[in-house]
């Protein structure tokens, strides 16, 4: 079976190489081939042996880490809907409804994004990078379930074109593409991205489906209890509601070492720190909220685990990662509490720090450079003596 498949690939390959009938699809063919079979390339120069890891393995690990949150999200879409319309439903009805809402969004995100990625790879005669495997999954997970599909397509196109390809593609982008897509919709179509009518699919008009952050931003206090927010039975974006499901993903990312523990830890630490500071000030009820509530509401954990840790847009030095994460946590909570116009501070906080990450790295590296120059002067002096 495998041999037959290999034989088929080998037979069709000449059509897609230079001079072949479909040479203009070379990058696309290679992407699918290397997806199917590990390339049999051997080392040419430098190290004769190489580590078994590659970008495919890395990206697939992240996609697997997203699965608990995604599956829970699908169930939660159905659960929230049937709760809002006050109907009884079986587990499979709930899942079925969730799938009906989630799958089209995922499919649209992948098709739009991959089409652009493949086209750019083709134009540049590059190989297709695997980065979009993760981005394509992240975009649906940070959007409300009822989002119109054409908006998903427009936002994805914007994120991939302006957020990524304009900077040179995977590895070169300044801001996280998935969050760029979300920010685009947030500012371009605020009516579908905020308020208390968008977070539950097919919601009856009379029902208020506000997220905990929405309730707080409007000065309300009747939050769901902490336990509900931990397991995630609350309205919200598809992937962000369950702290437990996100933690499962975080465990995989930390165990495999794919995501930086420094960033995850420092984001959580920074958020807690700001929360405690507000507790100490205690000027209004939002400030008096127990600091750990910030972890349970909105996209804080999802952002800390999957967004802030994006290695391309985060700080790259180890010291820089601590500062970067800490500031994300601090700003996220600060935005939430002080600026009620933007109920969710996490997205803007991460995007802001994405822009500052190069500056943080610059300062960290400047210290290293200064140390080296100082050493040279000291050694010169001792040598001269």
């Amino acid at each position: 079976m495998i041999k037959k498949l290999r034989h088929f690939v080998d037979k069709t390959k000449p059509n897609f190489t230079e001079g072949g009938k479909y040479a203009w699809l070379q990058s696309t063919f290679e992407a699918f081939e290397s997806f199917l079979f590990v390339p049999d390339e051997t080392t040419k120069r430098g190290c004769h042996v190489r580590d078994a890891i590659d970008l495919k393995r890395t990206m697939i690990t992240v996609v697997i880490a997203l699965m608990p949150a995604l599956l829970f999200g699908i169930w939660n879409i159905g659960y929230q809907h049937f709760k809002a319309v006050a109907e009884c439903a079986t587990f499979w009805q709930i899942i079925g409804f969730g799938l009906l809402k989630a799958l089209p969004v995922i499919v649209v995100s992948y098709i739009t994004g991959l089409a652009i990625e493949f086209a750019f790879a083709q134009i540049r005669h590059h190989q297709v990078n695997e980065g979009y495997l993760v981005t394509g999954m992240l975009i649906p997970m940070v959007l409300p379930p009822d989002i119109p599909l054409w908006m998903v397509a427009v936002a994805t196109a914007f994120a991939v074109l302006i957020g990524k390809e304009a900077f040179g593609g995977t590895g070169m982008n300044l801001v996280n593409p998935a969050l760029t897509a979300r920010a685009f919709l947030f500012f371009a179509y605020p009516s579908v991205m905020s308020g208390d009518k968008v977070w539950i699919a097919d919601q009856p008009d009379a029902f208020s489906g506000a997220t905990p952050l929405g309730i707080l931003a409007n000065g309300g206090t009747n939050l769901p209890d902490a336990w509900t927010m931990i397991w995630g039975g609350i309205p919200g974006s598809m992937g962000e509601t369950s702290v437990i499901a996100i933690t499962l993903g975080a465990i995989l990312l930390l165990m495999t070492g794919i995501a930086s523990w420094r960033i995850m830890l420092s984001v959580i630490f920074g958020g807690g720190l700001m929360g405690l500071l507000f507790n100490a000030i205690g000027a209004n009820e939002y400030m008096q909220l127990p600091f750990y509530y910030h972890y349970l509401m909105g996209g804080f954990m999802f952002g800390a685990v999957f967004m802030a840790t994006d290695p391309v847009t985060a700080a790259q030095t180890n010291t820089g990662k601590w500062i970067y994460g800490l500031l994300i946590g601090i700003f996220a909570v600060m935005l939430r509490v002080l600026n009620s116009a933007y109920a969710e501070g996490m997205m803007l906080s991460i995007l802001l720090m994405n822009c500052f990450a190069p500056l943080i790295d610059h300062c960290v590296i400047a210290r290293n450079i200064k140390k080296r120059q100082k050493r040279a002067i000291v050694q010169q002096k001792t040598f001269a003596r």
């Binding site: 079979f37 051997t42 042996v49 890891i53 393995r57 593609g169 590895g171």
Partner: protein, 451 residues
Amino acid sequence: MSQVIKIKQGLDIHLKGKAEQVVSCVIPDYFALHPTDFIGLMPRLRVQEGDQVKVGTPLFCDKRDERIRFTAPVSGTVSEIRRGAKRQLQAIVIQSDKQNAALPFEVGELTKEGITQSLLEIGLWPMIRQRPYSTVARPDDTPQAFFISAFDSSPLAPDMDFLAEHFPDSLQKGLEVLNILSDGKLHLCVHAEKTQSEVLLKAKNVVIHQFSGPHPSGNVGTQINKICPINKGDIVWYCGLPEIINIGHFFLTGQLDFGRIYAVAGSGLLHPHYIQTKLGASVSALVKNNLKDDHQRIVSGNVLTGKAVTENGFIGYYHNVLSVIPEGDQRHELIGWIWPGFKKFSMSRTFPSGFIPNALQPDFELDTNYHGEERAYVMTGEFEKVFPFDIYPLQLIKACLVGDIDLMENLGIYEVDPEDFALCEFVDTSKTDIQAIIFEALEKLRKEAEG
């Protein structure tokens, strides 16, 4: 003895086929010297095909400093002068007469000038190299320090203890000579646990430093960086143990001899072991009747930094090991990125092997497969795990790629050598050729410095 310098960042790659501590004697028919082994050398040929040579007869010299000679390691006839593109001199092949007759040389005075003079004359001088750039040392320079690494931490490396025990007297004499040459600034770096040989631990006329931890603790670049980091304009000399044994042997006996014990190791061999022969021996003689099959990669040097050679090639001037590993081009693994991969080796914990502590890992049989394709730099923090310098590796690599000389200098380019980046290249998720990037950057700086 000074305190132990702990190397925390690094990776030991345990490969199957370590050389068994058995020495067999092989006298191949052919030997060769490659002018291309010496970075930046412009060779001037001194012999022609058909010339009779003895041990110590100059084969070629450095055009810019004709005192630096490269002499024949064996006696016999120059059988072939291999040239490459643009008539680049690639190898001078000698057919050995198996007499090992040497030109008569007199051992000079044991002063700095006398030793320099002798080493230049007999052709042992090129065994001393300098950092930065890893070129042959210039006789008129005064180095800040002279370093010797007394252990090799790279995969399949020869056991330096084993070599030292074979020639204790030559080694000690060599150290004495180099100590004079370096004005007493000779540093010998040993491994805190792995170096057991009394010859090394109780060596005289040197400052001994102890290192511990995984590869690249045995790289002389790491050791220099920890003890006496190189600033712009500094020069540090270094030399390997087998080379010192050659030097010591001459000053001890007055006889010039390029004898070497090479480790011939790797999972592609039937009996990995040590072979006693002369410098520059032919590969075919070293692996004769020992290859598992034809489909092997033969590497002169270790598998991280060495050069691929064919069976009609020769072992390189500075190499102490001939590594033979299987080629990895004959498998097409279906959706290989998803399987657990129990037999695969990786530093990352996306494979089971990543969870085993480095010291407890079993030996792996690695082949030359790339395990992926080249990509843009995405992951961060992985180089830092295997790079024990106080340098930001990714930033330095990027500075080299854009060719920003000021930035390279600021980030510490003079402290590094391509081999120091070998492990970064090994673990790189994006599969880039980092050693080549660093090499080209250093070459650019060297050419600029030499004008």
